[in-house]
């Protein structure tokens, strides 16, 4: 038996792929799909959000991004649910001269890695997205990036996992005997026996296993537009602050997100909302006309290097699939395939190799 702790996009993806291969899987989560997956914006932008020193993460992101068309098609065929996958590129725009200097430098870096991106003038940006403020100075189009609707991803994965038992309870601890995993003990003391346990519990993973994951709070809001407002996921740099807007075909417009190191503090704050709306209005003056639908906060599972922790970790039979930070939705298809490979005893995709738990070993004990 295999227990997957956590039924967010990552855990559901793993359970689905594993069950497709005939492996006996059980999911455990008190609230399937209720964590970060429910709040995430769903940008698939490994190119648009590339940072210096993160070339390995880039390869991981590109690999997973390019699995999305098939992932979406398979889920649609299996469940009839469209996960809202769109490949309309990612636009990054600069508000002032300093922001443009930053983007120009980013474009040079992207080009040096052979990535397909295009540096645009302000007017060219506005031809792509006419609602942009006339003062926008320029931008970068990463045409191969895209977006997906995480809530639909979760819904589709839940439907695809209809044959997978889901235990709607909290895990108190992972049972380990003689250096090997024996199962999980639930909050009420019951034990689910298992030879293998996958920790896909997002920010809560550190409470279950020796994994260096911390919650990084994000506040995000959802507006609704009755008319076409935005075509593609757009990231804005506004006087050094970074924010983004992601449109959905049904008119939803996601505006995100704060990034706060405040532990498990899920409060929505006036300041968080104000920052998001301030910058959204600066870039898109028309947002003030849109209907306000929702505001939420959740926790990105952050590892010390912002990259996921994938593969065997600690006692025999324990696998980690956590620490995806801002990229959980992006990395879902690859993580699901790779962990299913590991569970089946197959060689996982090359791209995940640098992301084992062992890389944190020297400091892992003094967390």
């Amino acid at each position: 038996m295999i227990v997957v702790i956590g039924a967010g996009a990552i855990g559901l993806g793993i359970a689905w792929r594993a069950s497709q291969r005939g492996l006996p899987v059980t999911l455990v989560d008190p609230e399937p799909g209720g964590g970060a997956s429910h709040v995430a914006a769903g940008m698939l932008t490994p190119v648009g959000e590339l940072q210096y020193g993160e070339e390995q993460q880039l390869r991981l992101g590109l690999d997973s991004r390019d699995r999305y068309p098939e992932f979406a098609a398979e889920l649609a065929e299996r469940t009839g649910i469209d996960i809202g996958y769109r490949k309309e590129g990612n636009l990054s725009v600069a508000y002032d001269t300093d922001d443009l200097a930053f983007l120009t430098d980013q474009h040079r870096f992207q080009e040096s890695l052979g990535l397909r991106t295009e540096l645009l003038t302000g007017r060219e940006c506005r031809r792509l997205e006419p609602m942009l403020a006339p003062s926008v100075r320029g931008g970068i189009l990463a045409p191969d990036d895209g977006s997906v609707d995480p809530r639909r991803v979760v819904r589709a994965l839940l439907a695809a996992c209809e044959d997978v038992p889901i235990v709607r309870r909290r895990v108190r601890e992972i049972v380990v005997e003689g250096g090997a995993v024996r199962g999980v003990r639930l909050e009420d003391g019951d034990v689910l026996a298992a030879e293998r346990v996958v920790v896909a519990a997002g920010s809560w993973s550190a409470e279950l296993a020796d994994l260096p994951v911390r919650p990084v709070k994000g506040q995000i809001l959802r507006l609704h537009s009755p008319y076409p407002f935005l075509t593609r996921a757009t990231r804005g740099l506004v006087r050094g602050f970074s924010m983004y807007l992601v449109p959905r075909p049904d008119g939803e417009l996601v505006v995100g997100a704060t990034q706060e190191e405040l532990g498990f503090d899920s409060r929505v704050t006036a300041g968080g909302l104000w920052e998001l709306l301030r910058d959204a209005r600066t870039l898109f003056p028309g947002v003030t006309e849109l209907e306000f639908k929702e505001v939420s906060a959740s926790f990105r599972p952050g590892s010390p290097d912002n990259s996921p922790i994938l593969g065997f970790a600690g006692p025999d039979g324990l696998l980690a699939a956590t620490g995806h930070f801002r990229n959980g939705i992006l990395l879902t298809p690859l993580t699901a395939d790779a962990v299913a490979d590991l569970l089946e005893g197959k060689e996982p995709p090359e791209a995940i190799r640098p992301f084992g738990a062992a890389r944190f070993a020297p400091t892992g004990d003094s967390r």
Binding site: G53, L262, D305
Partner: protein, 266 residues
């Protein structure tokens, strides 16, 4: 004593009676990840590092505070993000309660576009915090008069800016920094505006006792490499200051004498 390297044990930075071997104070904002930040802090050799109290939960596992603790780096809580004296005082009190330190980097910002200090609010907050027993290190503009007033208010150091926070424009008014240094009875820490290593060296050559920087390292392409450069720049600038630079001359002066040279036919 090894006079070629006075920067470590022989020449400590002393603030409010506390000694530091390193004259580089680091900030933590802007790093792409905790791991990158950790590497950069180690490469910088810093012994004191500022943390924005409004941006962290001191009780959280795996936070930047744990990184500092792991390497024995002192924490200097700051009041970043405060626009009024009242907010800054409140933030300092919360920091003291949460971290058990009465040291605070006092930052009261006038507006969010320039992030320049608000001198009136700053002096007010400094007076209130000193009265409450805090060791106050105020981030101030490069105004020699204000620096003096802050010192008179009981601040343990003064921290004038070189140029606006995060701008990397270096030291825009070296003359004012020199004036502040000449008249100060407390350590002067150049805070904000450092872009690259030569800026940090210049600050020390002007007579500053230390340099505080963050963005120049955390947003560099290779933060750890830049942190090492800053460490050496601060050491080099300090040594040059102590060594005593030569006066600037208008015309050349040969380093070896012309007198007594052998001439043809002699």
């Amino acid at each position: 004593m090894d006079m070629t390297n006075m920067t470590d044990t022989a020449d400590p930075l002393v603030i409010a009676g506390r000694e530091f071997g390193s004259r580089l104070v680091m900030g933590t904002g802007g790093a792409p990840s905790l791991h990158v930040l950790e590497e950069a802090l180690l490469a910088s050799g810093t012994e004191l590092t500022t943390v924005a109290m409004r941006r962290i939960d001191p009780a959280m596992k795996g936070s930047v505070l744990e990184v500092l603790d792991r390497h024995g780096i002192g924490v200097l809580p700051n009041t970043a993000g405060c626009f009024t004296s009242g907010e800054a005082v409140l933030t300092a009190r919360l920091a003291r309660e949460a971290l058990g330190t009465s040291w605070v980097k006092l930052e009261v910002i006038a507006d969010e576009h320039t992030l320049l200090p608000d001198p009136v609010e700053l002096l007010d907050a400094a007076e209130r915090l000193v009265a409450e027993g805090f060791t106050v290190l105020p981030y101030t503009s490069d105004d020699p008069v204000l620096a003096r007033r802050l010192e008179q208010a009981g601040c343990a150091a003064v921290m004038p800016l070189g140029s606006p926070i995060g701008s990397g424009m270096g030291i825009r008014n070296p003359h004012n920094i020199e004036l502040i240094v000449e008249r100060a009875g407390v350590p002067v820490i150049l805070d904000a505006g450092i872009g690259t290593a030569s800026d940090a060296a210049l600050a020390m050559e002007l007579g500053c006792d230390a340099v505080l920087l963050a963005t120049a390292v955390t947003r560099a392409q290779r933060p750890a490499l830049m942190a090492g450069a800053m460490r050496r720049a601060v050491e080099a600038g300090r040594a040059a200051r102590l060594a005593g630079r030569i006066p600037v001359r208008r015309l050349a002066r040969a380093s070896s004498p012309f007198e007594g040279l052998a001439t043809a036919g002699s």
